[in-house]
Subunit: 241 residues, 3 copies
């Protein structure tokens, strides 16, 4: 939550973190985008996530799902599938998570931690299948990030490997996707690819000064805050595949 | 919680973070100050907050409230008002939060995120009114911070704008107010103004080395830890208004 | 949780953070080690901790306990003792925590925050006694860290004092102990002493560049990520006592 909020503030967005379903009816109708992250899921948080997702859908607000460790347990997989039935605009995960969701069957033996044990390329077909079944834009993070609406597939080749050695960079870039989707909800694929590219560019610039994962984390956020359009345009690597 | 705890440790205080009402009867009577932050409020945390606040009042310990996003929902506003009825020593918020509490009416259309959408100057009258009705010292953070006991009004002109681009700086300075109030509970207005000024000075010194919000966060805490009295005295800008 | 996860990632481990007892039956049997930290204990988290600990024991996985602020309340002390009855491989705390557990009697007047108010040397006898009664390896952090299986006592003389001015360094080193114990569960004492030494070496190297607690935190993680075996061997200070 800390890194996601600092990412949003650095990018000029205005985050608020709410957990309680009691607050959603007052708050969710006024947001520009909703971001749900199942990272430390518990049974009393899930109903609040569903209430918020339903409200976002009803009030036509884009909502974005980060299905953290979707394959780690049957409970978590089921929770993610229930949330996906509430029509997220975008789902972003790593290859393991997207494959688990697309398969919708629990393969416990391949489960590791929240970091990914599959290449993102393995997950392109799974992502297309999930996009088609859910109606969401699906993004798979990895050495190359892939974004698809089920039909088009876009590759984003920004970022540096050390970003995977910082906890919550995935969660943070999903937050940034929500901010980008808030600006133009009708172009969720473009918003998602742009957010992934911009976050990756910030990581690349940060890496020039970093001596390890912790200083990269700092320089990445500083770089994100200082980015100008010229730099972004000269560095972004987005290809239609 | 992370930034607040690191702020307290850097300043020489000894923080402990407890959530459960079961622990309060054993723990709260031994603290020097209690800090309640409603940031990620949930319905099961609120009773624990009330138990801790009641114990602090009964044992004559200063307790400090950060009414994060007080106007974001009816539930949150009501929770803050209930906590305020338990006699906090100090309430610190941004202009939007203090105005929401003073109005004690829910104006959903003006609600943004946890960052402020009002100037602190707008909130001075609201702060005086809230101080008079609650008996607490009320502080409003902004470009200029205002502190009032309902009668006197003090302005603090330290800090740098980029501190608002770091999540939880408000929460952290409220923690520092609690530490300062612990030293001399009978001078809550002076403690509050001093904590705001010292935190702002740490931000100013940190800004000299910072390249963005994340490095400012680091340098701010480093500076707070390294502050000496001469530096503080030469830099503090507190005016009676 | 943030610092612990970043410590593990920097050291090459693969952390996942789960809170819910519903997930444990699916997830815990597949971990290489389980780490339970009672930092912000609440009554609904305790049952999940017990379920996870029981599963780890049943599936012969090492599990590591950080009894944060064990003496802060009767509830917390009882919770820690209940967890200890579920056979952790390693318990790591500061002197106050280990003494509270060994005495298993609540001395509220000596309770401070989560930082330690006893020297680690005071706690050696308490640690031996706790190791013997629990069957766990017990580590006491301090200016010198002590590790004992109830019979052997090992001292670790790495680290720098400023590490105590960063919140969660204790929690982070316990996470690292879990990662080391995962590699060779049958040598828990050696794993524990090595993890404490390596984390201390990372702190020493980090301190060479640090200007305060926040930059130390960053440089410590960077150093941990960059450590090579030659550096570790030349710097580690472990003595059999």
């Amino acid at each position: 939550m800390d890194l996601a909020a600092n990412t949003l503030l650095s990018a000029g967005a205005s985050p608020a973190m709410l957990h309680s379903s009691i607050e959603s009816p007052d708050f969710t109708p006024h947001v520009h985008a909703l971001y749900i992250n199942v990272g430390t899921l518990s049974d009393n948080w899930l109903p609040a996530m569903k209430v918020a997702a339903e409200l976002a859908s009803r009030f036509n607000k884009p909502w974005i799902l980060d299905p953290v460790a979707a394959g780690a347990s049957g409970f978590r997989l089921k929770a993610c599938l229930e949330l996906i039935s509430l029509k997220p605009s975008v789902i972003r995960g790593n290859a393991s998570e997207i494959i688990a969701l697309a398969n919708a069957s629990f393969g416990s033996s391949s489960t590791k931690g929240v970091d990914s044990s599959h290449d993102s390329t393995d997950a392109v077909e799974a992502a297309k299948s999930l996009a088609n079944s859910s109606g969401a834009v699906v993004a798979v993070s990895g050495a190359v990030d892939f974004v698809t609406d089920g039909n088009r597939v876009v590759g984003v080749r920004n970022g540096v490997p050390m970003m995977q050695k910082i906890t919550a960079t995935g969660c943070a870039v999903t937050a940034l996707i929500a901010a980008f989707a808030a600006v133009d909800p009708s172009h969720a694929l473009e918003a998602t690819a742009s957010a992934l590219a911009v976050f990756g560019v910030a990581g690349e610039i940060g890496m020039e000064k970093a001596a390890g994962p912790a200083s990269l984390r700092m320089h990445l956020i500083d770089s994100l805050h200082g980015l100008d359009l010229t730099t972004v345009i000269s560095r972004v690597k987005i290809d239609t595949l």
